[in-house]
Structure formats: C-alpha cells, structure tokens
C-alpha cells in the first residue's frame, strides 16, 4: 500500500481525466491529494456548461426573490452616489479633478459595487452549495467563478444609467472607452482572487462570513471611491496601487470620462498584485478543495 501511495502521489493533479487514444474512454484516476495543485484547464473546459448553468441559476434566483428585481442593481450605487455627492462633495469639498460630483462618485461606485457584490457572493459560494458539494463532483472553483460572472448582470444594468449620466454631463466619448473592458476584467480578477481565499476560508472557518462585510467596508476606504487617488502622496502611489481596486477605479474613471489618466506605476502595481492574488488564491483553494466535502 505504501508503494501504491508513492506512485499515486506523483500523479497529480488528483482525480484528473486523461485521454489516451483517438476514441478512448476517459480514465479517471482517484488518488490521494498530491503536493502540486495545478488548475486542470481541460477539465474546466469540459465543465463550461455547468458554469453557465450556475451563473444562470444565481441570476434567476436573485431576481425571483426580489420585488423590484433589476432595480436593486441601480438603487444601491445611485443612493450611495447621492450620499457621497452631498457629504464628501458639497460639504467636505473633496477635489474631483474637474468632474461633476455625481459623475465622479458614480464612475467609482459602479466597479466598486460590482466588486463588493462579487466578492461577497464568492465568499459564500462554497458554503451555500454544501449540499451539492457533498453529493456530486465538479471542479469546485466554478462556484466562486460563477459569483464573479453573475455579478456582471447588475453591472450591465447600472452601466446603462452611467451612459445616461455621461450624456447628461456632456462627456465626450473618446478612444479611452476601449479600456472599460480592461479595467472591468481587472475588477473581475480581483474579486476572483480574493474570493478564492475567502470562499476556502469560509468553508473552514464559519465566522469568516461575519468578517467579510467589515473587510469590504475597510477595503472601500482604502480605494479611491470617495476621494481621488491624487490625494495620496506621489511616492506612496505605487504602494497604494498594490490594492488592485485602486488601479481599477482610477482606470475606470478615466476610461469613461477621459479625464485624469491613471498613473502607469499605480496601474501596473495593481495588475501585478492581481496576478499574484489569483495565483495564490488558486493554490490555496485547490488545497482546501481536496477535503472541502469532508468539512463543509
């Protein structure tokens, strides 16, 4: 048996499917968790339909349970925008780099609301699906991933309002608009990277779910949502950018309005931080995944 174990351990990733011929039957090997946890991209591709169904279910359920349905997607950022415009804008007179306050805050709240929702969804995704997890196999990483995707619907709805605001404030469209999807992708990856950690931790330690709202609030004040990042001293800017949402929000504001292009140092720090976060998140999630059905 020791021998079998040794052989098995070299054959990571665990429980992988491999094809060994033109029309060969897939062979699934079930072995103890190995030391190396790579993401099995081929397997993920096989399960893309399930990802679609997970996202589809989440969206359906979310809108079925609410009275005003899609209204929520707009209500939250708009209400926050109004409060921020009044207190941080009119009263505290935060510099907005020449942008009207509602536009200044809404361009930040849009990616922020998406991020906060996706992160909270991802955190709870594993625990909420514990019944399914203990009864059927699928790559568990689909759960936080589906939270990241399903948040996009709310984002799209809220984006329509932004388009309306842009027209109202006579924002001239320009080539920078092409960067909107880039910064959106950065926001998705940030939510995914942090979501992987929190989803795994939440499966192991249930009080993580009480920490997350606090974490999100704290994170918002560490991001240039209610103030411009130009308030941060120049020499701290790159370090500030290690919070990927700083890059996302600065970038997003610019990509919509064309005003105040973000500093290259800050954005590249954010991009690097995201890559590290996602890689580390995947590693940790895969590690917990091996035994998650035993503990949730």
């Amino acid at each position: 048996m020791e021998e079998a174990l040794a052989v098995a351990a070299t054959r990571a990733p665990a429980a992988a499917e491999s094809h060994s011929g033109p029309h060969a039957v897939p062979v699934k090997r079930i072995v103890p968790p190995g030391r190396f946890w790579a993401l099995d991209l081929k397997e993920l591709a096989d399960y893309r339909e399930l990802l679609y169904f997970l996202v589809w279910r989440e969206i359906k359920v979310r809108y079925k349970q609410t009275v005003i349905g899609a209204g929520w997607a707009v209500l939250q950022p708009v209400a926050t925008m109004l409060v921020f415009s009044l207190f941080f804008g009119r009263l505290a007179k935060i510099p907005s780099g020449g942008l009207p306050y509602p536009l200044f805050f809404y361009t930040a709240l849009l990616p922020w609301t998406y991020f906060a929702g996706a992160l909270a969804g991802a955190t709870n995704s594993v625990v909420e699906n514990q019944r399914v997890i203990t009864k059927v196999y699928f790559p568990r990483v689909l759960l936080p991933l589906s939270a990241v995707f399903s948040g996009l619907v709310d984002f799209a709805i809220a984006f329509v309002l932004l388009a309306g605001m842009a027209v109202y404030y006579r924002v001239t469209p320009g080539p920078w608009l092409a960067f909107v999807p880039v910064f959106l992708l950065l926001a998705m990856l940030t939510a995914f990277g942090a979501g992987l950690w929190l989803a795994a931790l939440n499966a192991l330690y249930r009080d993580v779910r009480y920490v997350v709202p606090f974490l999100i609030q704290f994170w918002m004040f560490a991001s240039p949502v209610a103030y411009p990042s130009s308030l941060v001293p120049e020499r701290w800017r790159a370090m500030y950018g290690l919070n990927p949402m700083a890059g996302v929000i600065d970038g997003f504001r610019w990509a919509i309005t064309g005003e105040n292009p973000p500093s290259i140092g800050l954005v590249s720090a954010s991009a690097t931080a995201v890559i590290v976060m996602v890689a580390a998140g995947l590693w940790y999630f895969r590690r917990v995944e091996a035994t998650v059905a035993d503990v949730v």
Binding site: P26, I30, V61
Partner: protein, 420 residues
C-alpha cells in the same frame, strides 16, 4: 471476463473524529493558538495534537467488469457511502487508488441541486447539468423526463409549491435519465411511496441491463438480489466478503441477527424520517406469551411497539410487516391498508398488533421487515430487523410436514387435491 471498468486498489479514507459534526470557528483557532503555550499536552477535550482519527474505509480492493452491476451491502456506517463518494471524486482518499474507465455519474441523493424558487423546468436543466448531462442531452430527453415524472401541468410552477412526492418524482426522473458509462447509486430507492419505488426499481433494472456498469448501494437486499449478480459486503470500513449476491446477502443478513432479540434501538439497517420509530418487536404465541419460537400453523401475534416525538395521533399512517426468507426476499406482506379498519384510532405511541390466525410458514428461520409511513413520508423502515424460528407444527391438520428441502423458505397454503 469483460474489460475492467473499476479497479480499486487499497483504498482508504481517514476522517478526523468529529470533523463532520462541527466546523471550526476562526475564534477557536485563534484562542487555541493564544492559549497553546499554557495548555498541557495531553489534557483537554481531544481537540489537541493527539486528536483521534477514524478510518471510514481502509484497505479496500476490488474490481468491477464493464457492464457489471455490483451491489454493496453493509450496516449504516460501514463505509458504503464513503466508498461511493471516493469513486465519484467528491472527496479524495487518504491512501490507495482507484481507476475508473468511462464517464462517471453519481446519484447519491435524489434532487441534487434542486432549488425551491426555480420552476420544474428550470430545475430539470440545472439538476441535469450538475449531475453531468450536457445541455443538448437534456433538451433531447426533456419530454421523456417530464413524462416519467408525471408533473407536466406544473412545469412552470416554482418547486416550492410542489408536494414532497412530486418533487421526489421529478428529481428521480432527472437522475434516471443520466447515461454515464459508470453509475454510482446510493439508497435512492428508499424514498417515495411504494408505487413510485416500484417504478424506480424498474428503471434501475433497465439501466442495469443496458450494459452500463453500476455500483448499487441499498439496504433493500431484495432489490440487490434482483439487480446485481455480484455483491460486496462492507463492514467497519473493510471488505468482509465478495461473491455471488445470494451468498453475500445471506451472510450479511445472518450477521444482523446478533443483537438483543426484539429491541430495535441498535438496529443499523433502518431508514426514514424518524418522527415515529419502532422500538421493539416480538412474537406472541396462541397463549399470548412472548416467544422466540413459534409453531407452524398456530395462532401468532406479531407485536411492535412504536413511539413518536410529538403527542398527536398519527395521520395518514400505514404500518406494514413483511415476512422474508433469510436472503431478505419477501414471502408475504401484512399491511394496515389491506387488513386494518381505517377508523381505528392510531395513538402517537403504542403497539401495533398483527394477528395471523394460522402461521403459514414451514419450519425454519425467517426475517421480519417493519415499515411505517405517516404524514406522507416513510418514518421508519427497518429491513430484516429480527429473525424468528418456526418449529414443526400442524398447519394442514394432518400432522404431516413439508419435505425437508423446503425448510427456511416455504409459505404454506391450504389446498386440496383430486384426480379426474
């Protein structure tokens, strides 16, 4: 023999004791880290370094040929479900390995992925997808699934408005249309009403005959005998025996009859919601005395005591007692829906008595299965719960006995002969 579909080699799974019952809170971990230097090593409540482990499964090896249907029997907690979970990839083994050729589908519960807010139609798609069906496959089988479930008219109603029976039928119907090469099935037949169970068993039979490899866990040994030519008996996480189902099932059932006669508290082969449970069962002879041996042809009372959690009389209850041979194959059935007066009040706790005016069994050893349905659900179902012995008697009033080859498995029926 055909090609090997499943090869299991020294498979073992270790759990930390208590891991399943209680999740950790971060604050516990932090508190433990802080207090660690001040704690004695061995003291405390077993949460320390020397925390106990149990092997849910160990050293399990077997192979299953392509197209074979293998039954798995064993008491609750013997490791049957763990074995299926390992093979399904839901959890990873601690040691050993297994290899499965072909697409694996697992059916470990009825209604995996069902969501009460979604409609029947939406649930078919989601559940089908999570069980491993492709979208096109679901499209193709959709009408068939709906027809089998019989819930056509409620397809666009949210699942939460379905009765539990309807939910079950829809769920099984989705699962029954899975077509993987290897199918792992756990106890899914132990739900629903009798008619639906029969339908499910029929469907399972089709699956088994369609050339797919099936691992089938059930406490209904008669279902195993019907579906599986070979069986595996698990006990305390290890393989106790393998072989032809008849032999394995007989050994397994014989091993169940070792507890204190009559008490069911320790019965490990039981299922159901448990709001009402049987507590004891015994036989009384024609004098009303509790006995372990009854006589062929004598007046016999089968008495079962039961208890409910609540105090109200049982609603929609059905009691049934099946007499089985030593392989768990039913010989005859006594059921309150057949032989009882429905107006008779059924107290929350009490005794149910089934009287057989003339015990129609040849001498030998037999088993009783107890079944109790109430509030529209199976409450308690103790399979092959107790054994009892029937000694020589005078069923036919002629003093004659059935030939010796008929011991243990013969129902006696009054009859006449003539020659014309």
């Amino acid at each position: 023999m055909a090609a090997v579909a499943i090869r299991v080699d020294g498979l073992g799974k270790r759990f930390r004791l208590g891991e399943r019952e209680r999740y950790l809170a971060l604050r516990d971990v932090l508190a433990r880290a802080v207090t660690a230097p001040f704690r004695r090593r061995e003291g405390g409540n077993g949460n320390g370094a020397g925390r106990a482990h149990i092997w849910a499964l160990r050293d399990v090896s077997f192979t299953v040929g392509e197209g074979e249907t293998i039954g798995i029997v064993g008491r609750n907690g013997a490791g049957k479900s763990t074995l299926l979970k390992l093979l399904a990839g839901i959890t990873l083994p601690t040691e050993g390995s297994a290899e499965i050729r072909g697409r694996v589908g697992s059916l470990l519960e009825v209604g995996t992925g069902f969501h009460p807010e979604l409609t029947g139609r939406e649930n078919i798609y989601f559940s089908g997808s999570i069980l491993g069906m492709k979208r096109r496959e679901i499209d193709r089988k959709f009408d068939e699934i709906v027809a089998f479930s019989g819930v056509e008219t409620f397809l666009d109603t949210p699942l939460k408005h379905y009765s539990s029976g309807m939910q079950l039928r829809l769920a099984f119907s989705v699962a029954a249309h899975l077509e993987p090469e290897v199918l792992l099935v756990d106890e899914v037949l132990a739900v629903g009403d009798a008619a639906f169970q029969k339908k499910c068993l029929g469907k399972m039979n089709d699956v088994a005959r369609s050339g797919r490899t099936v691992l089938f866990v059930s406490h209904q040994t008669s279902a195993i005998l019907q579906l599986c030519s070979r069986s595996l008996w698990l006990e305390r996480g290890g393989v106790r025996s393998t072989g032809p189902s008849r032999e394995v099932v007989a050994q397994y059932l014989a091993s169940l009859q070792t507890g204190t006669p009559g008490t069911l508290d320790a019965a490990t082969n039981r299922h159901g919601r448990g709001r009402v449970r049987f507590t004891r069962v015994w036989m009384e002879n024609s004098e009303g005395m509790p006995v372990e041996h009854v006589m062929s042809g004598e007046r016999v009372r089968i008495v079962a005591s039961y208890e409910s959690a609540g105090g109200e009389p049982l609603a929609n209850s059905r009691f049934s007692i099946a007499v089985e041979d030593m392989l768990g194959q039913p010989l005859f059935l006594c059921d309150t829906s057949l032989g009882a007066d429905d107006s008779w009040p059924r107290p929350a706790s009490g005794r149910v008595v089934c009287t057989l005016p003339e015990l129609p069994l040849n001498q030998g050893r037999y088993l009783l299965t107890l079944f109790l349905e109430a509030y529209g659900e199976v409450q308690d179902w103790v399979t092959s719960a107790v054994g009892f012995d029937v000694s020589e008697g005078d069923f036919f009033g002629s003093g004659r006995q059935a030939p010796s080859g008929w011991t243990n498995q013969c129902v006696l029926v009054r009859h006449k002969w003539g020659f014309e």
